[in-house]
Symmetry: C2
Subunit: 341 residues, 2 copies
DNA sequence: CTGAAAGCGCTTACAG
DNA sequence: CTGAAAGCGCTTACAG
């Protein structure tokens, strides 16, 4: 009835006939509380349906909230990372909040800043488009795990896939199938800046290296596109010209789905143009899609990122840790032996 | 250098030689600030790289944060809702945080509670598995928009698809193709409880009604499954027995993809067993998938939910509003005319 | 083991 | 237009 405002710690203390400090201790499971007091307080909490305000707690202690910055919520690979993180958080008392940075590339700073402003106890940043210096500064303020990028720092942990190795696997697979004219479809130049350490940068560099060491420098062809499947479809379609490649190594699965769509729309099949993706999102294994790709276990990445964060928060770890997952080739029907003619 | 702790409003006030109240007014763009003072404060904010702590603001005013509860982050339809919401938030000064409830059905309460504990200024709840009474109580405390469920309340807004109409479109399409033996693949009984108003409940009821009014009561077959594509694959496979249906109307696209996979694994094609989904997720239109489905515009739902929330927060609207999007049939290759034999 | 008091960083009336 | 003071709901030393 008199539901006007939710109970506060003051209400609970009064109801139980104890001090606010005592209630606080019970809530936090702190030492120095008699069983009798614990019982009375617990009963009062129950009776008043009391829940501590996170904002008030955050002012003095911690917010029991971990934040994850998502560059593009439409990408199912990121979704797998979040699923892994969510599962790892079960029973820890911490809550995950996601800050989507969907709109454009510059939004990463905003999303990360928004998490910091909310006093989260730690942040997972997925291949954020911010400078190492910026992230390092944030890392002095709170625990950070960066997923994806290969640049390291004393101030934050990293969880990465071995993108060079993954790319080598993909290229070797195509070479084995007899392909020589292999194009690479990747994001715009600002995401693949050499030395930036982004997954896309590393994959591009290794693509170039693999082509060169196979003596195929003259066959190198880099196609640029945006962040979405549809952008990839449009840009692939434009690249299926007279001089078209026999295979395309694509920077990630979401873009590879667009490339596959383009191949179909051009009246071709994987027998004409093979497509390899990267990530192994769920739909890649669907028989109708059957996309050859590199599995880099997003679930494990999310799980690991949470563990690293909790180590810093609860165990007080300071030294940076760098964890790497091993990529695995998933050969499927979207890659075929090159036509001999 | 002395980056020990981030600047507070006190630091800014001192730097600018004004009171904290003055800084607060400038931040909030409140009335009664001379241009000169505004300029000095702005300069000080810039110089100190000051950002107000959200937790502190939330204690007195608002958190400028909106929360969205996601039942299952793996479902790309929910992802579209989030994308619509994110876009609608651009330039409003509000930030969206997502609370995933991925783990199991009961997690909805936890996720919603977590958002409430964080003093968000408003909440979007996607078909939450909580009672109307529970949600109503929450609605007295903060603005709420519920997406999906058809139950209404004086205390919150709703954004729904016309699930009965969408189901009618799907069933009419199958009838037109000559199907009679049409099964319905849906979630477990606790999600389709009659009268609960969940989308799955409404779709199930309309499936039954459509079958009955077509004189096909004896062909009714309801197959139950879990929340994931893989669960749907397994349960569909089990249903492709000697007495198998010629068509399956599936509760949503994610499950329909699993059903499609099962059809393939059973050595059949849509020419043997047609499949209709619901939602029109992106991959449904991929030529290799080509899933017939009902488009209910998740992006528009997310956009609308944000607008309704902001109306309550900023304009002080009190009367509940109910918004419905109109479903559209997307007929594709996963539905074929029934074989005459 | 228990509690009174200070303080976290803001906003909000209220004086001036 | 400007500022001093109270207060939001917690946690944290510090006494007792």
């Amino acid at each position: 009835m008199t539901d006007a405002r939710a109970a506060t710690i003051e209400d609970v203390a009064r109801h139980a006939g104890v001090s606010r400090a005592a209630v606080s201790k019970v809530i936090r499971n702190a030492y120095g509380v008699s069983p009798a007091m614990r019982e009375r307080v617990t009963a009062a909490i129950e009776a008043l349906d009391y829940r501590p305000r996170v904002a008030a707690r955050a002012m003095r202690g911690s917010s029991f909230t971990l934040g994850i910055e998502l560059p593009h919520i439409g990408n199912p690979f990121f979704t797998k990372i979040v699923a892994g993180a969510t599962a790892a958080l079960q029973g820890t008392g911490y809550q995950l909040i996601i800050a989507p940075a969907d709109v454009d590339g510059e939004e990463g700073v905003r999303a990360l800043g928004a998490l910091a402003d909310r006093q989260v106890d730690g942040i997972i940043a997925i291949s954020p488009l911010v400078s190492t210096a910026w992230l390092e500064r944030l890392g002095t303020r709170m625990p950070i795990v960066m997923i994806g990028r290969h640049d390291r720092s004393e101030n934050y942990d990293t969880v990465t896939g071995d993108d060079a190795e993954g790319t080598r696997l993909a290229m070797a697979h195509l070479f084995d199938l007899g392909h020589r004219r292999i194009a690479h479809l990747t994001r715009s130049a600002d995401v693949t800046h050499p030395g930036s350490g982004t997954p896309h940068a590393v994959r591009l560099e290794q693509y170039l290296a693999s082509m060169r060491s196979a003596g195929l420098e003259h066959e190198i062809r880099v196609i640029r596109t945006g962040m979405t499947e549809d952008a990839a479809r449009v840009d692939t379609l434009a690249a299926l010209d007279d001089d078209r490649p026999t295979a395309i190594f694509v920077g990630n699965d979401e873009l590879a789905l667009g490339a596959l769509r383009a191949v179909g729309e051009a009246g071709l099949t994987p027998a004409d143009v093979s497509v390899v993706g990267y990530d192994d999102v769920d739909i890649a294994s669907h028989p109708a899609i059957s996309l050859t790709t590199i599995d880099q276990s997003g679930v494990e990445m999310g799980d690991r990122a949470i563990r690293l964060l909790l180590e810093r928060i609860r165990d007080g770890r300071i030294e940076p840790t760098h964890f790497s997952v091993t990529p695995v080739l998933k050969a499927r029907a979207s890659t075929r032996a090159v036509r001999t003619g």
